[in-house]
Structure formats: structure tokens, C-alpha cells
Amino acid sequence: MLTYLGSPQLPSDDKRWKIVEATARRHGREPNALIETLHTVQEAFGYLDDIALKFVAMTLRVPLSLVYGAATFYHYFTLKPKGKHTCVVCTGTACYIKGAAGLLAAIEKTYGVKPGETTPDDQLSVLTARCLGSCGLAPAVVMDGAVLGKVGPEQMLARIEKGIRHDH
């Protein structure tokens, strides 16, 4: 089975695979580059699908199940594509003490999604962060990369709505 030796073919001519391969090469295609390479895939593609996991496994010579095990162990990695907009609610201790649970409840009530879920129209993904390190601004929310500090449910919902409407 010599075909499996050496580096595998890129899954498609999508240029992003070259970036992924560059990371693997930089680490000498060593199995220990697994997490670094998965980071690159996620950065390039937004998520990790089976094709990517298989490619990484073959490139670094890491068993498939180990790749899948690692990809699902680390919460930073996602195996599903995210929605167009993301809203991250910080659930660090300071934010929790100051009402993060109420923010999540407000989102669920309005959009029907829990943390880790995306609305059926793929408009909004809701995530939680363990701590954004902005405890001075608790409770904090990050809507499409912009931090909202000392935020209440209404203010947050208005900002989310603005973010989504902006596209239309």
C-alpha cells in the first residue's frame, strides 16, 4: 500500500488547503502538530469537516479516531459551520455574578437558541466563553467581534438585531 506513504493529495484545488499544508510542513509533518494544524484548518475554513479531519490525519500520520477525539475534546474547535453572525456571552465568574444567565435566557426567549446552537435560518450562532478577561466590564457580550460591556438584556438584544438587520 505504498500509495498511503508520503503526503496525501490535497482534497481540492481550494487554495486554503495550501495554508493547511504549510502548517503541517512547518512542523515537519510530525504527529504532535495535530492541534496546531487543526487551528489552521478552523481559521481557514471556519470549522472542521470530515474531509479536513481525514486530510490532517493522513498528512500528519495520526489515526483517524485520534484526530476526531482531539477535535471534539477541545471546545475551541467546531465541527459544524457557524451562522452568519455570532454572539458570544461571557460566562466567567464576574459576568455570572452580574447576570450573564439572564442574557442567555433573553437570547433563548427571542431567538429560540441555546449556547452552541445556530438559528434555523443560519443568521445567528450563540456561544459562551469561559472568560473574556473583561471582568471590569461584566457582564460582557461579543457581537460579531465587538465587545459590549456592562450590558443589559434589552441593550444586547437591540445590538444583535442591529447586527442581523445590517445585512438586509
Binding site: 504532535n32 475534546f73 465568574t93 455574578i97 471582568c135
Partner: protein
């Protein structure tokens, strides 16, 4: 790089700064960044350029100044002034105040306990230097300790100095740093590694992040000195991927230090070589545990393994490995620069030096603080923290994150040191300090931490995997008003089981928030079982007979 060359860089940098009449520093670390610090920096730069003061005013983007709740912060170093809550629109006011001595935006007094009661060693450069310029670090005595050490001291002498300083690990457990170094050094001539644990995962803690973002070279210098002392050639910085600014600044710093020959091959012309690589964490709290962190760097699932053997003997790729956290490494250069006796003169008998805390929660001044060991919690909360807002009363202070405990108000006069905190069931931890007032329900807080431990449990050992789930289930029942006295007994039993039989620190520490709240706030648990949430937090539990809506 020789000592002379280093001094020359420092001198040139200082001269260059002196040419400016005014120095304006704008905080662009994560805390202020999230309230728009970068826009303020741009606006002030633009204003200075437009008013033709480019040669008189130096505008620097700097790291964390500490008082995150008043951000974005701008300090005018030359005049000893600090402005709080600055907006980009206020840039002309800031610049205007320089020449005219006019008031400028809202001033933030610096002669208050928040600043005066602190003692800065680790954070001495934070908020003062531009983290993206190695020259600025060198101008503040940076790399002096490394260059001197390599030129003048033997590895053994370095270790002795660290032992004499009394420095203990700042990651949580407080293991003596010098002892750890000497264990690794003693393993003989073979490949060894130095790892900096920058996987700060405690919710409510951002000390390491601030140091990495504001003063990255300090950590690299500490790592290099450690590598020299233990005989390692290769180092890894394991940083959370959630800290993009820290990663960016570290990458820049490594490149700069490589260029100047302060890292890399034959450092300062000696036989000592040290290469540092960054490895990104990927959102697993358990990777703060040494052996799990090592597994993660090896590209595996971050599950811990039983110790012994300790990483000092068999760590990364089974080689002897020294692991310290960010704050520990950040203390190394000042100790070697100023001497062990200086460091040992600060703090208490068994806990030397200072500790950085992320002060947050129900307290007026939230932010990053550094205090001498031995200061009381009351001083921290009431003086540095400025007390509890809205006329509320302090109920508890939580230290040590998910493995730490809730310290009740009655123990607030306790000195902050490793042993004292342990004696009342909590721990120093990495430095999260969350203040709670009467609006916090302690059972709900315990449930919060248990939820955290349950979802961060790696799943390898049964007590942690299934025990945290059971405890969380019981706490959820109690906070939903369905708890019974038998549940409390079961909870205590599970605490004992999980604490004593779990494989690693995550599981062993997971019961602590429950145990301390049960010990100090038992009344609240009993009240919940009787159908009342005294703080009025828990939905489904009545307060004084009336349903409290969440």
C-alpha cells in the same frame, strides 16, 4: 549581545524618549481594548499630528494600567496625570491639557489606595512600556538579568538565588520554584524542556493575559533564565487561543529577541542556546494541569496522567520538563536583578513577594492589582477595591477559581498568603478574586462552579466525570426548590469521594466551592431545602412566601 551593547540600546531609547516634552500612554490591553482603547489611541495620534506637536508629544500604546472598570485609560506620564473613560471625541481635550494645563477629560486620581496600596514587581512595566518594542523593555532594565546571568553566574548559582528568594509557583498550589528547578537540573545531561503555562482558564482571571499582552519580554526573559539554570534548550509557551492579542505580542517579542540574539543559538556568545515556540491551547481548562498540558503540546487529547513520575523527571516526550506559569516566570528577572534578599524582604514568612489578582465582581474598582503577600482581604476589597457599590454589604470573596473556595466576610482580616487561604478551606489559586455581596446566592454560586467543572472534566477518571455530574444534579435540584435534607448528606459524601479519588487537580479541587459554601453558608442550603432562597436568585425557590421571578 554583551552587557555594553544592551546598555547602549537602553541609553539610546531613553534619550529618544527624553526628547519629547510629553509622553501620553494609552492602554490597549484587552480590558480597555474592549471599551475602545485602540480608537482612543488613533484619535490622540491624529490630534497630535494635526496640531503639529509630533516632535513634542510621544503617544504610546501600552499595556494594562490595572483599573479596568474606568477604561479606556490614558496616562500622561510626564505630568503624573491619568484620565478615565476616555472617548475618541475627547482626544483634543487630552492633547489640549498638555500645553495649557487645562483640565482635560475626566481625571482619574492616582493618589488613591487603588494605586498607592499596590506593590508592583510583576506589573512594574505594565501600562508603561510599548509591548511591541523590545527597546522599550530594554530601556526599563529588560534582559539585564539574562545577560548578566549568562556572563557571570553558573546554573547552580541561579537556582540557589531562586531558592533563597522563597519564590513559589504562582499557578495555584505554591510549590517552591527553586526546588522544582533543581529537580530538573539534577536529571543530568539530556534533552530537557521549559514550558510556560499560559493556559489561564479560571473564569474571572486575567492576570496572565495582562502580563503577556503588556510585557511579553519579561516572560521570555524568565523562561530563558530558567532554561539556562536547568539546562534546557527548547521552550514552549502554551497560550490560550482565546487570547489573540497576547499571542500576537508574544510572536513579535520572540522575533525581536531572536534578532537581538537574546534567544536562539549561542545567546550572548555563550554555549547556551534556547529556542521558544508558541503552542495554542484550544479551550480546555484541564490543560492547566501539567500532565494534560504536556499531552496537548504532544498533539493529543489533553487528559492528565497519574503522577509520579512528575514532569520534572519525565515530561514532554518523556524528557525532564520544567513547567511554571506566566507570573512565576515574570518574577524571575527582578529577583536576579535585585537579589534574593530584596524579594524575600517582601511578603510573609512563608509566602514571599507579591501576588497579582484579577479583582472583579461586586466591588467598586475592578481590574488588575498586585499586592504584597500578607495584605488582608479586607484591605484589598475595601481600600484597593473601594468597597462594595450601592451601599450593599460584602458577603464573601471567592479565590482560586473553580478549585477554590468562598471566604466569608468574617474571615476578611486574614492575610493573603498560601497557608492562610488553605487553612480556611480555600486556596491562592492563580489569582481570580471575585467579590460577592448579599445579592449573590451561595448555593447558586456553588452550582455555577460545579457546572464549570462538570463540563471541563476530561472524562478520563470516573469520580470526576460522573461525580461532578451527580453533584451538579443535586445542586440543580436544590436551586430549583426540589432539594431534601438527604440531598445535602449525599452532596457531602460526593465531595469527599471526588476530592480524594480523582486523578488530577481538577477533580480533586472541584468540591471545594461546595465544601466552603456548605461550611460557611450552611444556612442558605438549609433555607433552599426549606423552600427559600435568601438572596432571591434561585427561580422556583420562594422568598418569604412569594415567588421570585428570575
Amino acid at each position: 549581545m554583551t552587557i555594553e551593547e544592551l546598555r547602549k540600546i537602553a541609553e539610546t531609547e531613553r534619550e529618544a524618549e527624553k526628547r519629547y516634552q510629553h509622553r501620553v500612554c494609552v492602554c490597549t490591553a484587552a480590558g480597555c481594548l474592549s471599551s475602545g482603547g485602540d480608537h482612543v489611541l488613533d484619535a490622540i495620534r491624529k490630534e497630535v499630528a494635526e496640531s503639529g506637536m509630533k516632535n513634542e508629544v510621544l503617544v504610546k500604546g501600552v499595556g494594562c494600567m490595572g483599573l479596568c472598570s474606568a477604561g479606556p485609560l490614558v496616562s500622561v506620564e510626564t505630568e503624573g496625570k491619568m484620565f478615565a473613560n476616555v472617548t475618541p471625541e475627547e482626544a483634543p481635550d487630552v492633547v489640549g491639557s498638555l500645553d495649557t494645563g487645562a483640565g482635560g477629560p475626566q481625571e482619574c486620581p492616582t493618589n488613591v489606595p487603588f494605586f498607592e496600596r499596590q506593590k508592583k514587581i510583576v506589573l512594574e512595566n505594565c501600562g508603561k512600556i510599548d509591548p511591541e518594542r523590545i527597546e522599550d523593555y530594554i530601556a526599563h532594565d529588560g534582559y539585564l538579568a539574562l545577560v548578566h546571568t549568562i556572563a557571570e553566574r553558573s546554573p547552580q548559582e541561579v537556582i540557589q538565588e531562586i531558592i533563597r528568594s522563597g519564590l513559589r509557583g504562582r499557578g495555584g498550589a505554591g510549590y517552591p520554584t527553586g526546588l522544582k528547578w533543581s529537580t530538573v537540573a539534577k536529571t543530568g545531561e539530556q534533552e530537557k524542556f521549559v514550558i510556560c503555562n499560559a493556559d489561564e482558564g479560571d473564569p474571572g482571571a486575567f492576570m496572565d493575559r495582562a502580563v503577556l499582552e503588556s510585557d511579553p519580554h519579561r516572560v521570555l526573559e524568565g523562561m530563558a533564565i530558567a532554561a539556562y539554570a536547568v539546562g534546557a534548550q527548547k521552550g514552549f509557551l502554551y497560550v490560550r487561543a482565546e487570547y489573540p492579542l497576547a499571542v500576537k505580542n508574544l510572536k513579535t517579542a520572540i522575533r525581536q529577541a531572536d534578532r537581538l540574539g537574546l534567544l536562539g543559538n549561542s545567546i550572548c556568545g555563550s554555549r547556551f542556546s534556547f529556542h521558544v515556540d508558541i503552542r495554542l491551547g484550544a479551550g480546555a481548562f484541564v490543560c492547566g494541569e501539567e500532565t494534560a498540558l504536556i499531552a496537548s503540546i504532544e498533539g493529543k487529547r489533553g487528559t492528565p496522567r497519574p503522577r509520579p513520575p512528575y514532569p520534572a523527571e519525565s515530561g514532554l516526550w518523556d524528557s525532564p520538563t520544567l513547567i511554571n506559569n506566566v507570573e512565576t516566570f515574570a518574577n524571575v528577572a527582578p529577583i536576579l536583578r535585585n537579589g534574593a534578599a530584596w524579594f524575600a524582604g517582601i511578603g510573609t514568612e512563608k509566602s514571599k513577594g507579591t501576588k497579582v489578582f484579577a479583582l472583579a465582581g461586586r466591588v467598586t474598582n475592578t481590574g488588575l492589582i498586585e499586592v504584597p503577600m500578607g495584605i488582608t482581604l479586607r484591605e484589598v476589597v475595601n481600600e484597593i477595591g473601594g468597597g462594595i457599590p450601592d451601599g450593599k454589604k460584602c458577603k464573601a470573596v471567592q479565590t482560586g477559581g473553580p478549585s477554590g473556595g468562598c471566604i466569608p466576610e468574617k474571615h476578611m482580616d486574614l492575610p493573603v498568603d498560601y497557608e492562610s487561604l488553605k487553612s480556611i478551606g480555600s486556596m491562592m489559586g492563580s489569582g481570580g478574586m471575585i467579590v460577592m455581596d448579599e445579592t449573590s446566592c451561595m448555593v447558586d454560586v456553588a452550582k455555577y462552579f460545579m457546572e464549570f467543572c462538570m463540563s471541563e472534566s476530561c472524562g478520563k477518571c470516573i469520580p470526576c466525570r460522573a461525580g461532578t455530574q451527580q453533584m451538579h444534579g443535586i445542586l440543580a435540584r436544590i436551586t430549583a426548590g426540589e432539594g431534601t435534607p438527604a440531598d445535602l448528606a449525599l452532596l457531602e459524601e460526593l465531595c469527599d469521594l471526588v476530592r480524594n479519588t480523582s486523578l488530577c487537580g481538577l477533580g480533586q479541587g472541584a468540591p471545594t466551592p461546595v465544601l466552603t459554601t456548605m461550611q460557611y453558608f450552611r444556612g442558605e442550603y438549609d433555607a433552599h431545602v426549606a423552600g427559600e432562597c435568601p438572596a432571591g436568585v434561585c427561580a422556583g425557590v420562594h422568598r418569604g412566601g412569594e415567588e421570585v421571578a428570575k
